[in-house]
């Protein structure tokens, strides 16, 4: 087991996400090997690492889209996805898990907007279909969020008519509509045309400035240096190194981290 020093700029803030000893395998392939992650309120954690290092799987384990094989996740101190019964961890029901997932927003690489709903209906889909709010009431909050991501003029458009960057901003608004305690971003700009990457990153910077707790998997290293409170470098299913952006940028401890960052910076 690797014990990593938890570097946090504000160690006194309450913990929002706590993952301990996460293991995950797909068949014979071990993707996550005993990973710990603690994210405090308002913190922006960026996870970097080569393809196949397990960073997306870690993110998906946090909201049980890929349930961990072993290990525990807690959100705001409450166990997530499992419950203790007779001293053993037991998976919770679909309804309970769905209710717990409301606390965490997720943004996908492929946006995954609901293709048969227009922009406004996408954004209010959570409040309407999960929380049972009236569409009219949910529309108020949804329009406020569309304004936040700069897409007020697109509320009747269907996803297919939007650019990738616009779709991703709608997806961010859709996740925010559930007023989550934390937001997970799974390579949010990897599927975007270069010219629309900036508009999505700007929305994310804006969110970070507003104090949103965020965990971001990305290859955008300049964004990471700018937005992150903490950067994690993952390889082979483990967190190899973590530190504040300045430390990671100037003096990464591990040779692998140095080489990876060197390549990312050279490619940028």
């Amino acid at each position: 087991m690797t014990h990593l020093e938890q570097v946090s700029p504000a160690p006194t803030r309450p913990i929002v996400i706590e993952a301990r000893g996460i293991h995950k395998s797909f068949g014979a392939l071990q993707v996550l090997n005993d990973v710990d992650l603690v994210v405090r309120r308002g913190e922006v954690v960026v996870i970097i690492g080569p393809s196949g290092s397990g960073k997306s799987t870690l993110l998906r384990a946090l909201n049980f889209l890929d349930a961990p094989d072993q290990g525990q996740v807690s959100i705001n101190g409450c166990p997530f996805g499992f419950t203790m019964r007779d001293g053993k961890a037991v998976a919770v029901s679909d309804a309970t898990l769905s209710a717990q997932r409301r606390q965490i927003g997720m943004v996908f690489q492929q946006f995954n907007l609901f293709g048969h709903m227009n922009v406004l209906d996408n954004v209010r889909s959570g409040p309407v279909h999960v929380l049972g709010h009236r569409p009219v009431d949910a529309g108020v909050g949804a329009r406020r969020l569309l304004a936040l991501v700069g897409l007020s003029d697109k509320e009747t458009a269907y996803p297919a008519a939007l650019s990738g960057g616009q779709q991703q901003r709608v997806a961010i608004a859709r996740a925010l509509a559930m007023e989550p305690a934390a937001m997970l971003f799974d390579e949010p700009t990897s599927a975007l045309d270069p010219e629309t990457v900036g508009e999505v990153l700007n929305v994310m910077l804006d969110l970070a400035a507003k104090g949103m707790t965020m965990v971001i998997v990305t290859h955008e290293i300049q964004f990471a240096y700018r937005a992150a409170d903490r950067i994690l470098f993952m390889e082979n299913g483990r967190i190899v190194e973590e530190g504040c952006p300045a430390a990671m940028k100037e003096s990464p401890k591990h040779e692998r981290t140095r080489r990876f960052l060197g390549k990312l910076t050279a490619g940028a």
Binding site: P50, S53, L65, D94, M106, Q110, G115, H116, H129, H219
Partner: protein, 244 residues
């Protein structure tokens, strides 16, 4: 000799028109039964638990693998031997409905499979339960995909409903046969029956086109995003491979 007089006379026969109405009625009823059975079977086959999945697979295998005519005869003529006596109409509905359900199960499953996996995940991530995910996100999008094959299935069902004549269900074909036995106008009467079937399937063709146009009007190509995203994904996979 072909007798136009007889042909034209029986085109307006209330007896045969009534038969056509019965054919249409059992087709609609069997389709509804088939839709319910097909939806249940399709959902059961998506389960990861064998004891949910296997019975549905057995049902589909059994009913797709045997002729519907044999199924009808077994249900109507054979089952009374083990104490299950269904009437003519009930036998026809059970046989045609169950057979249709097996085919529709495949169509519905293909439709659900065609909805990108990301749609499920996004719905789950927003906090929707599995049933809600299916109802709010998956079914509306799958419906557009399955509408054309569903329409074709109903077209086929209207024609195969004539098989119920073999168990003495008094629908269009059976009534035609009964009339032939009295009037001895074989060709003319069966041609009237054929014409009725043709009218039914043609009218349905119009309804089907209208339904499909309506369904595609409400949503401008929802899957284009997914496709574009996939091609971009390949690029980014290549890029990130370079990065490592």
């Amino acid at each position: 000799m072909w007798d136009w007089g007889t042909f034209l006379h029986y085109i307006y026969s209330p007896y045969l028109l009534g038969g056509a109405a019965i054919s249409l009625g059992i087709s609609i009823a069997a389709m509804l039964i088939g839709l319910v059975l097909g939806l249940i079977a399709a959902l059961m086959r998506m389960s990861s638990r064998w004891w949910i999945k296997q019975p549905a697979s057995l049902y589909v295998w059994l009913f797709r693998g045997t002729p519907v005519l044999v199924q009808l005869i077994i249900i109507y003529t054979g089952l009374p031997q083990v104490g299950i006596s269904l009437g003519v109409v009930a036998s026809a509905l059970v046989g045609l409905g169950a057979n249709e359900g097996a085919y529709l199960a495949e169509i519905i499953r293909a439709g659900i499979d065609s909805v990108p996996k990301g749609q499920f995940e996004a719905a789950r991530a927003v906090g929707m339960t599995w049933p809600k995910t299916m109802r709010v996100v998956v079914f509306p999008q799958a419906f557009r995909i399955i509408l054309p094959p569903l329409g074709n299935a109903f077209n086929g069902l209207m024609k195969s409903s004539s098989l119920a004549s073999a168990i003495s269900m008094e629908e269009l074909l059976r009534r035609t046969e009964l009339l032939v036995q009295v009037k001895f106008k074989v060709l003319e009467l069966f041609c009237v029956a054929a014409l009725y079937y043709l009218v039914l399937t043609t009218l349905w063709g119009f309804v089907q086109s209208w339904l499909e146009a309506r369904a595609s009007r409400s949503v401008p190509s929802p899957f284009r995003t997914a496709q574009t995203a996939t091609s971009i994904n390949i690029n980014s996979a290549v890029l990130s491979h370079d990065a490592s």
